[in-house]
């Protein structure tokens, strides 16, 4: 019972914190923070099931989140009609040929009885051949597609479906890639796995940044459709105008509050859904088995548990959850900007959330997501306030003071590092420790 009170108290104080922002700064900002808090919590739930329940170190959050974002484009943007005339089908054929060459070389590796040296040479030649064949097929259609109105399209476009569909699709896309990554790298030890996943997520971002035909690269995809009404349409609604009179705030503000509130409702529903599923999974025999594998791989193996398959399973599930959250994030932003995917913000910050919330506890991950995102956003003004307080007695023309004020925003990185280090040192179990079952 003590635990429940503790959890409720933490969540209550979190809401009070956000309400404070609403009262003292603006409700728009408060709702914005709230929405991003929900998305961060979903991402940390994804990491929590991998790290907290199964002990898998996944530093590829950034990549999976970006794949979710890519799903937004593929699902919801209108297709570029001319691109299909320009030979988009050849790109597909080229990529399939390359994948086939890889599959074939794996088959050679596993099935043939040649000596190892010969296998290396054959595999190398096969993949090189596949790669150059692909380049030969896809190079000219890519050039043609990227030349179609480069300022507006210059990419394949999508399927023109409702954007909400892209969320499960984003999860699916992330799950598929996670299956491949997991299949090849889950056998590695934990620090190697961390570095490998970090490297693979960087490769994913590089591809999204540079393959203009797929994601428009650094030119970004703007104007993604929304699952909620637009502010402009709301502003002419009579009911909205009534609300304006009632609350006595400008119509532009109330319309954007309504939009953000509707996002919050959808996101909250998804968060609760995922949380319920994860809680059921954790309490089930499956969850017990995962923890047994985490705590002692050797004995779990001796009891007949298939560790490799289980690890792969949990890796795919967690990555899918991150993919869903990534898709939601891109929808909320309304644009897909590959440049914004930074490991600091997407991978390491999510990890801090999980560790501080309490690894192994879903409620902990959620509170961690809320708390850390809140401070990530708010530590900028806090840092500025802090510095101006310290330097209040120094004259305004002083170089040191202006330099300090200028760089005060960077205090938040220090702040995050401090929080993580202090938690790991003095409360390694986090805010809401794992429940002993």
């Amino acid at each position: 019972m003590q635990d429940k009170q503790h959890i409720i108290l933490l969540f209550l104080s979190m809401f009070i914190l956000i309400a404070f922002v609403g009262f003292f700064q603006s409700w728009n900002l408060a709702l914005n923070i709230f929405n991003l808090c929900i998305i961060s919590s979903i991402m940390s739930l994804g990491i929590n099931i991998q790290w907290g329940n199964a002990g898998i170190v996944n530093f590829g959050v950034m990549g999976f989140a970006a794949l979710g974002g890519l799903a937004n484009i593929i699902v919801s943007m209108p297709p570029t009609a001319k691109a299909w005339d320009a030979g988009a089908i050849y790109i597909l054929i080229g990529i399939i040929i390359f994948i086939l060459s890889i599959i074939f070389s794996i088959l050679v590796w596993l099935k043939s009885r040649l000596s190892k040296k010969k296998k290396y040479i054959i595999n190398f030649l096969l993949i090189i051949l596949g790669y150059f064949l692909m380049r030969y097929i896809i190079d000219s259609p890519i050039k043609a597609i990227e030349a179609i109105e480069p300022a507006k399209t210059g990419y394949l476009g999508g399927l023109d479906l409702p954007v909400i569909i892209s969320w499960p699709i984003g999860g699916l896309l992330a799950a598929m890639i996670a299956y491949v990554i997991g299949k090849i790298s889950l056998g590695l030890r934990s620090d190697y796995l961390a570095i490998a996943t970090l490297g693979i997520s960087e490769i994913i971002i590089y591809i999204l940044k540079n393959e203009d035909w797929l994601s428009r690269g650094v030119k970004n995809v703007n104007g993604l459709p929304r699952p909620v009404p637009y502010e402009i349409d709301l502003q002419s609604e009579p009911r909205v105008l009534e609300l304006t009179k009632f609350f006595n705030i400008p119509v532009s503000e109330i319309s954007s509050i309504i939009v953000k509130l509707s996002y919050s409702c959808i996101f909250l529903l998804i968060l609760i859904g995922i949380l319920l599923l994860l809680e059921i999974a954790q309490k089930s025999p499956w969850g017990r088995m995962m923890r047994a594998i985490r705590d002692n791989e050797v004995s779990a193996n001796a009891m007949g548990k298939d560790i490799k398959t289980r690890h792969l399973q949990v890796f795919v599930i967690g990555s899918a959850i991150i993919g869903i959250a990534g898709a939601m994030l891109t929808t909320l932003d309304g644009q897909f900007t590959p440049v914004t995917y930074q490991p600091l913000r997407f991978t390491f910050l999510i990890w801090i959330m999980v560790i501080i919330g309490g690894s192994g506890n879903n409620f902990g991950s959620i509170i961690g997501g809320f708390l850390i995102w809140f401070f990530w956003v708010q530590s900028e003004p806090l840092g500025l306030w802090f510095i101006s307080q310290i330097t209040a007695y120094i004259s305004d023309t002083n170089i040191i003071k202006s330099h300090l004020l200028e760089n005060a925003a960077h205090i938040r990185l220090m702040f995050m590092g401090m929080i993580l280090l202090i938690t790991l040192r003095f409360a390694p179990k986090g805010l809401i420790p794992e429940v002993k079952r």
Partner: protein, 337 residues
């Protein structure tokens, strides 16, 4: 003549930049390797330690330039290097005392130490941006070139020019010096030998009367030195921006793992493997074949295997491939559970 031209072209665009970038990576990878073998964790904060070292160099360089002390054509940054090394070592030791020491005494798992090092990375990154700001800083002064393309063409009468920047020369010479000193220390001195003994078998080393605190101290001294030199050389050669050092960690890890983690020679080889493959795969071979092949055989296109945008991604691809095919690296490294 044609053949000589193509050779100069390759030297100018691949061999010299490859040697330079490779040396920088090798120094970084050596730092990671030494922490990994002696203290037994993957130090993600190493990039920020390099950044810290570079920042100290820049601040000292500015101080000297401001007070009008100059060293002719020699870059000031190299003169102040010993002092910034001391600053970096002090910072490393402070971090160890307040952060890493606790987990060492607790005998925590290496994953926990890895996550701790991410906390250190955040903190150091913030500290650096707070002190020096996130912008681009150029701190190279003195003579920019050892050999200019124009002089080289005049001298030899070839069509292709060869340029050697002074930062490239300094990088290669300093790296060779540092590596020689390091290997002499590890292999010939008593302290170096006890360090290797400690990394091979901690319990046995303790039984033979090796003082662990001293080993840790020396490890951080070496790591701080390597980090500061590697960071400064990279900053001199490209330009200093705190943000890029975060991204530098991965190629460095790639170098350390490709060579075989825990093996100093492997770390050096790994650095060069990564740098040369980045350049070889993203180099446009058109001009090279222009010299070699007869005119009517020349194919269209730039003849690039991968576009230059993927330069850094190449190191990750190699990293992943090595982890999959031969996780122990080229030289069999040490695996710590």
């Amino acid at each position: 003549m044609e053949f000589l031209n193509s050779f100069i072209l390759i030297t100018n665009y691949i061999i010299i930049p490859g040697l330079t970038y490779g040396s920088q990576l090798a120094l970084g990878a050596l730092g990671i390797t030494i922490v990994y073998t002696v203290l037994r964790f993957s130090n993600f904060a190493h990039g920020e330690f390099m950044s810290f070292g570079t920042m100290s160099t820049i601040l000292l360089t500015w101080a000297l330039i401001d007070s009008n002390i100059k060293f002719g054509t020699f870059p000031t940054a190299i003169i102040v290097l010993p002092f910034s090394i001391i600053f970096t070592i002090i910072y490393c030791l402070l971090v160890d005392k307040f952060v890493f020491k606790f987990y060492r005494q607790q005998k925590s798992k290496s994953v926990i130490a890895l996550i701790v090092s991410i906390g250190v990375m955040f903190f150091t990154g913030g500290l650096i941006r707070f002190i020096i700001g996130p912008g681009d800083k150029n701190f190279m002064d003195g003579e920019r070139f050892i050999l200019k393309a124009k002089d080289f063409k005049m001298l030899t009468g070839l069509d292709e020019g060869l340029t050697i920047k002074s930062t490239q020369g300094v990088t290669i010479i300093l790296t060779i010096l540092l590596v020689i000193i390091l290997f002499w220390f590890l292999n010939k001195t008593k302290t170096g030998k006890s360090m290797r003994a400690y990394s091979d078998n901690q319990e046995l080393a303790l039984l033979s009367g090796i003082n662990p605190e001293r080993i840790v101290l020396i490890t951080w001294i070496i790591t701080g030195t390597l980090a500061c030199v590697a960071g400064t050389l990279y900053g001199l050669d490209k330009s200093y921006k705190p943000f890029t050092y975060l991204h530098l960690v991965l190629p460095i890890f790639a170098a350390a793992i490709v060579g075989g983690v825990g093996n100093p020679i492997g770390a050096i080889i790994g650095g060069f493997v990564i740098s040369f493959s980045e350049l070889l795969i993203t180099f446009a071979y058109k001009k090279f074949f222009f010299y070699i092949l007869p005119d009517n055989f020349l194919p269209d296109g730039l003849l690039q295997i991968l576009s230059t945008d993927y330069k850094i991604a190449v190191s990750f691809i190699i990293l992943v491939l090595v982890l999959l095919i031969k996780p122990t690296g080229i030289y069999k490294g040490k695996i710590i559970e």
